[in-house]
Amino acid sequence: MTRTNLNRFGTLIAFVVLCVGFSIASPTAFATPANAFNLVQQMATLAIVATAATLVMTISEFDLSVGFSASLAAVICFVLFGLGYDVWLAVPAALLVGIVGGAANGVLVARFGIPSFVATLALGTILSGFAFGLSGGQSLFQKVPDAFKGLARGDVFGIPVLGFWIVLVLGIAAFVLNQTEFGRRLKAIGGNAQAARLAGLPIVRDVIVTFAIAGGLSALAGLLLASRLGSVQHTMGEPLLLPAYAAVFIGTTASPTGAPTVAGTLLGVAITGVMVNGMTIVGVEPFVQRILTGVIIIVAVLLRRVGRAQ
């Protein structure tokens, strides 16, 4: 295998090595269909949030509100359930809130020129306030319709329902980014916004739409997470933020150009998912799990830079 191929496929090889290592360490628990089922379920919401982050990073921006959007959408949905509304109204309403919140991020960034770090953190904090207020700070798990639980539970022909969500969402995102005019414009904006502006691309509109999609995807992830757990806490989506960006960064190491891609992000999600799942099964101490999770992100990004230099 040439150095070029190693650089290109090194991250994938690392993923395979991890899987093989955990399979050898725990053949009766890690390398089982039941655990594969678990892994797919556990990765799904992170994969969707990470896809939202990927879209935003494609235009060279950050969205720090993804976790807050996920929490608020789930809270709104469960509050509506509590008020007696059915799933067909509660779910679209929650998704709409996510899209509107995302679009507001886009307006702050594209129209008013506020750096995305600041704008999305501020708006995310506002969203978290609404989630806190609506939930009263309590865990909500009453009056959840069975139809809602079915969104993220169970399987079809032995494949977890959440696996189909991964394929659907990431498939559409990959198609949009790679096969459509809109996707090519996003890459152009991310590559050189000034050049894109001079070329007459509708930057403001595209940035707003991108953030709106990210908000909608985050809300969807929050709803699927709530469906999977059967309960909602007003902070439940927040822990998704750092792993989502970690997955995107790891994924960029698998990209020939170092740019974020949906496939790379999926690989990043899979690596982080397998790491945590495998370490838990093998019985790695909790403090070592945290250290290794940080180490792998640093190593991945450093190796990317080394690979580029070579």
Partner: protein, 309 residues
């Protein structure tokens, strides 16, 4: 090549990080919590591990640092990885009902310590949290002559803590001369620092003597944060009471600070009861009841034999 070497290095590090318990013989028991950073939760888990060592179980401890999605995932992992039992600490299993149902369906008994009763778990060992709140509130109100202004530090997401809050609500209704002038929903983790900051703000917002007479802390750590703020501000005439019997809170009570009382939960006792009951379950038996209470104790300056001027 570098990436492959790095992956192999990580795998080696993983091998070094495998807990001795995971390599030990005996029944494998998975202990999972989102709140290991809380002192009380840590105390329960350490006590459980000590008791488990006596029973020669292999215990894996997992902390998800407040992340409920990860918490659900780790319960799934434990279910499929051959654990003989799952012990959930400081959490209501209803928050991950599907995962608890699956564990039950797989024949893996789930018990909770400081949690809540659940149809799919076999046992919850806890304190009567309403009684804890009632005991502490009654003491605190008596200390201010059942009259004055209090502030509340709370965290309703925890089912046990919420029961204590309900006890305060009932006490406030029964004592109309006690007014709640401010409250703060505590951020977890980071509860001590967060509570100190909140208390700083409350002191500034209520500057006069007697504007705040007492701090009601749903557990000791927010009370400790409030004590830091009150002492730093040099405010007199404000007392604090909490719940848990946290060693630091007891030292503050001994030290004649504004911290005047705590209700000790028998965290070690809870863990011991849970381990003894689990031993019965693993031997093919059933627990004595589906919910068992550990004894509680009001700790004050008087009970500690301390006299303050």
């Amino acid at each position: 090549m570098l990436k492959t070497i790095a992956a192999l290095g990580l795998a080696a590090t993983l091998a070094l990080g495998v807990s001795p318990a995971a390599l030990a013989a005996g029944e494998k028991v998975s202990v999972i919590t989102p709140f290991l950073a809380a002192i009380a939760t840590g105390e329960m888990i350490e006590a459980f591990k000590a008791k488990a060592a006596e029973y020669q179980w292999s215990v894996d401890v997992v902390d998800t640092a407040g992340d409920m999605a990860a918490f659900a995932s780790r319960v799934e992992d434990a279910t499929t990885s051959g654990a003989k039992a799952i012990v959930l600490v400081s959490v209501d299993p209803a928050q991950i009902q599907d995962q608890v149902d699956k564990a039950k369906a797989a024949g893996v008994p789930v018990i909770t310590i400081d949690g809540a009763k659940n149809a799919s778990s076999v046992l919850n060992v806890t304190s009567d949290n309403y009684a804890l709140g009632e005991t502490m509130t009654k003491f605190l109100f008596e200390q201010i002559g059942n009259k004055g202004n209090i502030v509340r530090f709370f965290y309703s997401a925890h089912p046990g803590v919420h029961q204590r809050e309900l006890a305060l609500d009932d006490a406030l209704k029964a004592n109309p001369d006690v007014k709640q002038v401010a409250d703060h929903y505590v951020a977890v983790p980071g509860q001590v620092d967060d509570s100190r900051a909140a208390m700083d703000a409350m002191l500034l917002a209520n500057p006069g003597d007697g504007a705040i007479n007492a701090v009601w802390a749903a557990w000791d750590e927010p009370g400790i944060g409030a004590e830091l703020a009150i002492t730093a501000a040099g405010r007199k005439g404000i007392i604090i009471a909490g719940i848990d019997g946290n060693p630091q809170a007891i030292e503050l009570i001994k030290g004649c600070t504004p911290y005047v009382g705590t209700v000790r939960q028998g965290f070690g006792e809870m863990a011991n009861i849970a381990a003894d009951q689990l031993n019965k379950i693993l031997a093919g038996g059933t627990p004595d009841k589906d919910e068992l209470y550990a004894p509680v104790e009001l700790i004050t300056r008087a009970s500690l034999g301390v006299t303050c001027n």
